[in-house]
Symmetry: C3
Subunit: 214 residues, 3 copies
């Protein structure tokens, strides 16, 4: 039951991230193979780095190629339907938010399952949730969403903290995972809707951080 639930979150996360990769490909007017490549690296990138760092090799998509097939199928569908949504970038950001929320739980759960402590599990949730999007944006020539001013990594941190905290406190993993997912999605969603952000670093008055000291 739990395994099924986590596996479902994993599939959902991979699928929505694959869609975001294909949407970036559509913004760059790539061909269908470019769509498949960006969809796949975005969908499986975060989990790959997680598995490598935890020593879980061969990595998950080598063991279960269905993940790669799903990313390719998603890419083909998006190639023929990406003209439908009003704003592809807005859709991309919301799907990315969903993927972030799925993966901060899946990554943390995989790490706990591999025997790490809670701090490393939260870290692995963040790694799993953010790296696919970073690869997507670097390959696609977009500004990495992780560098945008509104809250992003913080949402994955909050979701992972909630999930791992509840598990450590003895709450069963299923409600803990659902809570963690909700926390991450609400925080990131609020950031998207209202531009929520944390206070940023402010240099001394009258000092421009960009070019001093160059």
């Amino acid at each position: 039951m739990l395994d099924t639930f986590i596996a479902a979150l994993d599939w959902l996360g991979i699928t929505v991230f694959a869609v975001t990769g294909a949407l970036v490909a559509s913004r760059k007017q790539m061909d269908v193979v470019g769509f498949a490549l960006l969809a796949t690296v975005t969908g499986v990138g975060g989990g790959t780095v997680r598995d490598l760092c935890l020593g879980l090799v061969p990595v998950f998509w080598v063991e279960q190629p269905a993940y790669v097939a799903a990313c390719v199928a998603v890419a083909v569908v998006v190639f023929f339907t990406a003209h439908i949504p009003e704003s592809r970038y807005r859709l991309l950001l919301w799907l990315d938010a969903a993927g972030l929320s799925f993966f901060c739980i899946v990554g943390a759960e995989r790490a706990l399952d591999a025997g790490t402590g809670p701090a490393v599990a939260i870290m692995m949730g963040i790694v799993t949730a953010t790296i696919g999007g970073v690869i997507r944006d670097v390959l696609g020539g977009e500004i990495p969403v992780v560098l945008r001013k509104e809250i992003y990594v913080t949402a994955a941190l909050a979701g992972g903290l909630a999930f791992v905290g509840l598990v450590v406190a003895g709450v069963p993993q299923l409600p803990a995972a659902a809570t963690g997912f909700a926390v991450c999605f609400v925080v990131r969603g609020a950031a998207l809707l209202r531009g929520w952000s944390l206070p940023v670093y402010r240099p001394r008055p009258g000092r421009d951080p960009g070019d001093l000291g160059l």
Copy 2:
């Protein structure tokens, strides 16, 4: 005999990719150590990611440092001879095409050898063939060749598909590898000579994909 043949393809791929890395270094007017660094990461980058994902660690160049030595030697030679060719960028693209063709076979063969299924093997061929060039272009500040409009990843896909398809169909690996190499090189070469490309994603008429939804 087969092992020797695949090993030869591997050495050829590493060498030509090392030359492309050194040529990018020459375009950026680096010093000889910069040449050696870019040549080495380009030459061994794809195979390193392949070995990591398959769980073949330590990775191949840790086991056989001669690969690294070869990349460094190539870099030194290019440092003193890069002024000879008429167009270094044109040369770079053709050597990159050769490396792509060598590596899409070597990567797939290594994966089959490690016991993966055919789909993962083709994927590993693509990973091995493209990641070295991506690292080279990102580090060297060039537009990644993988993002260019003409056919690129598709050639590696076609070569891997031909090779793995023939092997699965019972053809001995040697002619299968030679065929796969030829398929990839011909497809990519035609793309270079004639600008072959697949149909790209087209947004709705009158709609500019670049800035809508930002």
Copy 3:
């Protein structure tokens, strides 16, 4: 004693690289979570790739989460104090030089310890010393310090060469490590103070390497 010494170098390297990551975050006016993320990937990035390539998994910070905690703590301190130094970029370059010198020794020592030959050990020193900074600069949108004209990778090469050469020659690891550190720091420091550089590649007279052949 030796273990303690190498562990101390490792901690010093991680800490100074974490500071450089946080300084880049301050130049980009990120929030405190962005500081923590950039500090952590810069501090542990090089060692992570080293451990992966050597097959030492789970990687070091999964085994000892205190490293991650230290990077986060460093990031918080820098968030509140980065306005103090006159020139943050100058400070960043000097701390980066210190980190480079610590890590070219630590990386080489870890590789020798894992049973590699001297050439691979020097290579691992360079990998460990440079990759954290590359990730930092790519994520932070800075020009990678590894691509700057003055000597950089060469310093890590010189330090690793001195350390591994002395160890192979029978010198105890402690003085060998101290010498290697000094060599790297002096070479890189001289490059920073006096703009030392190696001769760069020169195209034929009257030929501009940047746009010919495009």
